[in-house]
């Protein structure tokens, strides 16, 4: 195995020393291109799409809308894919998206213990920790321990519901609207909605955090 890869540090690489993995990936792309299976420009476009267009801002806009529009929230909880596609805000959302609502009584958290299932269209590509063993192993058994790793503490009697994404359903957590945001616009509310708050490993920002 190549040992060039490090999850937690982003360093500049000397491009004259290509790692084994880089060489093998490049070779496979050359083979698939020469066979006419893929156009490298189309691969460029996929990469660009996930780097610039599809990310947690999509999900945040949906959450902010649900916070301000009770009819939309009801539609979202009934059929998230249908409700989001009816907005026409962004590229079509795939089927089987399920929105789950946090309440003072219940906190939802999403995991994929078997691989890395994640609502790409709403949140972009999943972060490394979501796909890694510590989260996948512990979320279903010790979610409060996991939340502590994120600096989140819930009340002792809050029910925790963990959704293990074992099929092609996808889950989006609808976090609770922070206090002190009465009258805020959707755009301003969306700034409070973090990626982790839509996975259930975090909470939305407080209004004071936004000013900082």
């Amino acid at each position: 195995m190549a040992h060039d890869h490090d999850h937690h540090h982003h360093h500049d690489h000397d491009h004259s020393e290509l790692s084994e993995t880089q060489l093998r990936v490049r070779a496979l792309e050359t083979i698939l291109t020469e066979k006419g299976y893929v156009d490298p420009k189309a691969l460029d476009a996929i990469v660009e799409m996930y780097e610039t267009k599809i990310g947690p801002r999509n999900g945040a806009a949906v959450v902010a809308k649900a916070w301000t529009d009770p009819a939309f929230k009801q539609a979202l909880l009934a059929d998230a894919t249908k409700a989001i596609n009816a907005l026409g805000h962004f590229a079509r959302t795939g089927d089987h998206l399920i929105a789950v609502e946090n309440t003072p009584q219940r906190h939802n958290m999403v995991v994929c213990t078997l691989c890395s299932c994640y609502p790409w269209e709403m949140l972009g590509l999943p972060p490394v920790w979501y796909k890694a063993a510590p989260y996948r192993s512990r979320a279903v058994k010790d979610p409060r321990g996991v939340l502590a790793d994120f600096g989140v503490t819930l009340a002792k009697d809050t029910e925790i519901r963990v959704w293990d994404s074992t099929a092609e359903t996808r889950f989006l957590v609808l976090p609770m609207r922070p206090a002190g945001t009465e009258g805020w616009s959707e755009d301003k509310l969306a700034e409070l909605v973090t990626r982790d708050s839509m996975i259930g490993t975090g909470l939305p920002k407080a209004p004071a955090e936004l000013k900082r």
């Binding site: 999850h7 937690h8 982003h10 690489h13 993995t21 880089q22 990936v25 490049r26 070779a27 496979l28 792309e29 083979i31 698939l32 020469e34 066979k35 299976y37 893929v38 156009d39 189309a42 691969l43 476009a45 996929i46 990469v47 799409m49 996930y50 780097e51 990310g55 590229a91 089987h96 399920i98 213990t113 078997l114 691989c115 890395s116 590509l125 972060p127 490394v128 920790w129 890694a132 510590p134 996948r136 192993s137 512990r138 279903v140 058994k141 979610p143 409060r144 996991v146 790793d149 994120f150 029910e159 925790i160 519901r161 963990v162 293990d164 074992t166 099929a167 092609e168 359903t169 490993t201």
Partner: protein
């Protein structure tokens, strides 16, 4: 298969370590791997279930030591060779050396990228009425196939409650092995943590999985 990928409830992997301002890709090759897998999947070279099985089938020590996109790369390379779309000699040479079968939906070009942005639908026409309804008590079957399954070990043999019916979907256990969609009803089944983890369980915790009908038996 009972592989190391089935991690729910395992101990000893340590703390979750979120990275502040994590980039979409840490290295350029990761994006190329993601894009190749998406492209080959979109045009019918591989499918999502067969790719998952290919990742699960990596030797455990490789699975655990490899980064996410390294696993994706090793799995797609293995599978393309296995399906004779790419020759082992071509991998060695780093070039195409002979002709290969065409992709089901032809070459992946710029025109296909937009379609790639949205997940396809996995819903299929039901072959029979749903056997369970919300509120039914069910036991997750104690199955241990050496082939692909999406029933995690930590729920097998345990009793839960059907919470919702999610429609009738492609059955991964079949689709992963080129045996067709074999559509099955899909249910959200919720378990009390005590049922899964015993007396030490967090009393406030409930865990759900999405389970295909063949994974469940009526109590």
């Amino acid at each position: 298969m009972n592989g190391v990928h089935d991690m729910g409830g395992m101990d000893g992997f340590g703390k979750v370590e979120p990275e502040a301002n994590e980039p979409t890709f840490h290295e350029r090759w990761e994006g190329r791997v993601m894009a190749m897998v998406r492209a080959m999947g979109a045009n019918g070279g591989v499918n999502i279930d067969s790719q998952r099985f290919a990742r699960e089938s990596l030797p455990p020590e490789v699975y655990l030591a490899s980064s996410y996109y390294q696993k994706w790369f090793l799995a797609i390379e293995n599978q393309l060779v296995e399906h004779k779309m790419v020759g082992a000699d071509e991998v060695e040479a780093g070039h195409s050396l002979h002709t290969s079968p065409p992709l089901l939906r032809g070459p992946f070009t710029l025109d296909d990228v937009k379609r790639c942005a949205t997940r396809g639908s996995f819903a299929r026409e039901p072959q029979s009425p749903a056997a369970f309804k919300p509120g039914d008590k069910v036991r997750a079957r104690n199955i241990n196939p050496v082939t692909h399954t999406r029933l995690p070990r930590y729920v097998r043999g345990h009793v839960g409650t059907v919470e919702r019916i999610n429609g009738c979907h492609v059955f991964p256990d079949s689709n992963a092995h080129g045996k067709g969609d074999h559509p099955q009803w899909l249910y959200t089944v919720v378990f009390d943590a005590h049922e899964l983890w015993g007396d030490d369980a967090d009393p406030t915790l409930k865990v759900s999985i999405d389970a295909f009908e063949p994974y469940l038996e009526r109590l």
